[in-house]
């Protein structure tokens, strides 16, 4: 028995630091999925495009000698514009939020190729945000985990404070009841555009941090990121619950940490990597189907989303 489990655990433990660094970075994508979905009731797929967009923009800027911090900020700005576009398409033309996101992420693929001029780009040897902190050993997982971990905590606290301000409550109101918000004098268009834009900016931030961590950008790096993010969010919400803003904000981060550890455990236990996407998809399906399976004999309630 032990001779089966021991090597599995051994290879799993060896993977913990790299998985931890990776999941902290990707937790920003999960945040970028959660914010529109849960706070604004705007199910959004833009993150699948905004994540590689942020990565590609950042890679090109850094390889041209731009300061990594500035490059990250510009990448976030680009992600913000992508998210704003999705929200605008939905509001102005009445296109379903999911379809609006698919349109934007498809167009972003070409934009990424145009920006980089090729399908992938190495930035090994260039300055990165990690080498700014620890020039001697920028690839140490300690630096990455520490730096991104601090960023996670800062952003969590800032968001928590924001949602309890007068401005913050208007965002939650738009998601809870858009028509009532309008009657209360809230500019629903502005809030939706800014909110979805900010979410995509977080996805782009994840892309920018990731390419600096792995040393290259690839136009296909976003493929499947959405379903991973959704799985993380669902796990996170199962852990924290959703009845307060604080729990809702913690869910993406705890979920990402848990989900990527689970994946790494599965891989260490011998799950063939090609099967991973099927397993993830099946898991998400199961978690989403669970409430309606529990309610035997009743049709599921129709989910209220913006059409």
């Amino acid at each position: 028995m032990f001779d089966i489990i021991l090597p599995i655990l051994e290879s799993y433990f060896a993977l913990i630091p790299v998985t931890l660094a990776q999941s902290l970075i990707l937790s920003f994508v999960v945040l970028g999925i959660m914010l529109p979905f849960r706070i604004l009731s705007f199910p959004d797929l833009t993150s699948e495009g905004a994540y590689p967009f942020g990565g590609c923009v950042c890679a090109v800027l850094i390889s041209n000698g731009m300061d990594p911090v500035v490059a990250i900020i510009v990448a976030m700005g680009c992600g913000f514009i992508a998210g704003c576009s999705t929200a605008f398409i939905h509001l102005r033309f009445g296109i379903n939020t999911l379809l609006a996101g698919i349109l934007i992420l498809t167009m972003l693929y070409s934009i990424n190729l145009r920006i980089m001029g090729r399908s992938n780009m190495s930035i090994l040897g260039s300055e990165s945000i990690y080498s700014l902190i620890n020039p001697l050993n920028p690839n140490s997982y300690g630096v990455k985990i520490g730096l991104v971990g601090i960023a996670v905590i800062v952003i969590l606290v800032v968001l928590k404070l924001f949602f309890s301000t007068e401005h913050g409550i208007t965002f939650r109101a738009v998601g809870a009841n858009a028509e009532m918000s309008e009657a209360q004098g809230i500019n629903v268009w502005r809030i939706t555009i800014i909110g979805v834009g900010a979410a995509s900016a977080f996805s782009a931030l994840a892309g920018a941090l990731m390419i600096q961590s792995q040393g290259f950008a690839d136009v296909n790096m976003g493929f499947g990121i959405l379903i991973n993010g959704l799985a993380s969010l669902i796990i996170g919400e199962a852990i924290t619950g959703r009845n307060t803003v604080w729990k809702q904000l913690l869910a993406p981060f705890l979920g990402a940490l848990t989900y990527y550890q689970l994946v790494s455990l599965c891989l260490a236990a011998g799950l063939p990597p090609p099967d991973l996407k099927f397993a993830t998809g099946f898991f998400v399906l199961l978690m989403l189907a669970l409430p309606s399976l529990k309610r035997k004999g009743m049709l599921p309630e129709r989910v209220k989303i913006r059409e």
Partner: protein
């Protein structure tokens, strides 16, 4: 306070199913007036309210609140002048947010928002005070999500939210129609109390003729997008439910005849 002049709105203009929702409607409300709008389904009552609230943009005509032309203002910009209670109790409140958060939203209506904390202790105390007017015990449930309240409680909350920062115009869109008779009475009484207390200029749409007789300073009857009848002053004090209902059928039959001739 409120003036609607020559308001016209035609749906599907020029098509076979053309519908005149509003046909040259003129209405002036003085300050503190309580006007009740009655009429059969499709008479244009809701269109009138929607036009005033900004949900429905007029084809022609003008709407002014306190002498300010608001004809082309969007719903959220008009919200600083007027407040509205919807027929559906679910529509006027944010279900997933708490009672206090909903009141905060109403409190901030039409005001500049800041990055300062929203629900301060001072505000909570004010909200408790406001809710105690209702006498429903809502003041002890500030932190309860609104989705856990009953329909009547939600509608009462929506009413308090609407009147909370003394809007220039209060629009009530059949706001007791979806409630059971007892709760409807409670909400209606609370409405009258708050309207009198804050001296609000009110426009109320209702199908309840007893309410139309008992309350308000003026009755306006609409039919086919036009104002067919206005009852105010002494005429209003002597009127009974029977009188109103008879007006209904007479007016409707006339309309029917006219339509037949055409």
């Amino acid at each position: 306070m409120l003036s609607v002049s020559n308001a016209t709105k035609i749906f599907f203009a020029g098509m076979p199913d053309e519908k005149k929702a509003l046909a040259d409607v003129n209405l002036v409300l003085r300050k503190c007036e309580f006007c009740i709008v009655i009429g059969s389904n499709g008479a244009g009552k809701s269109s009138l309210l929607n036009a005033i609230a900004g949900k429905l943009l007029l084809d022609t005509g003008k709407i002014a609140i306190a002498k300010k032309d608001v004809t082309h203002l969007s719903v959220h910009k008009r919200a600083q002048h007027l407040a509205r209670v919807f027929q559906d109790p679910l529509a006027g409140t944010a279900a997933s947010m708490t009672v206090a958060e909903n009141l905060l939203l109403a409190d901030l209506r039409g005001k500049r928002k800041h990055f300062s904390p929203g629900l301060t202790k001072k505000r909570r105390r004010q909200y408790e005070e406001k809710l105690s007017i209702l006498g429903l015990g809502l003041e002890e449930r500030l932190n309860t999500p609104v989705e856990l309240l009953s329909g009547g409680q939600r509608q009462s909350l929506a009413l308090i939210m609407a009147v909370s920062n003394s809007p220039q115009i209060l629009l009530l869109d059949e706001h007791t129609a979806a409630l059971d008779p007892l709760t409807a009475d409670i909400v209606m009484n609370a409405t009258i109390r708050t309207v009198e207390r804050f001296g609000l200029t009110t426009l109320m749409v209702t199908h309840n003729m007893q309410h139309a007789v008992d309350y308000g300073t003026r009755i306006v009857m609409m039919s086919s997008g036009k104002i067919k009848l206005e009852i105010a002053g002494e005429q209003k004090t002597g009127i009974t439910v029977g009188d109103l209902v008879s007006q209904f059928s007479v007016k409707n039959d006339k309309v029917l005849l006219q339509e037949c001739r055409v």
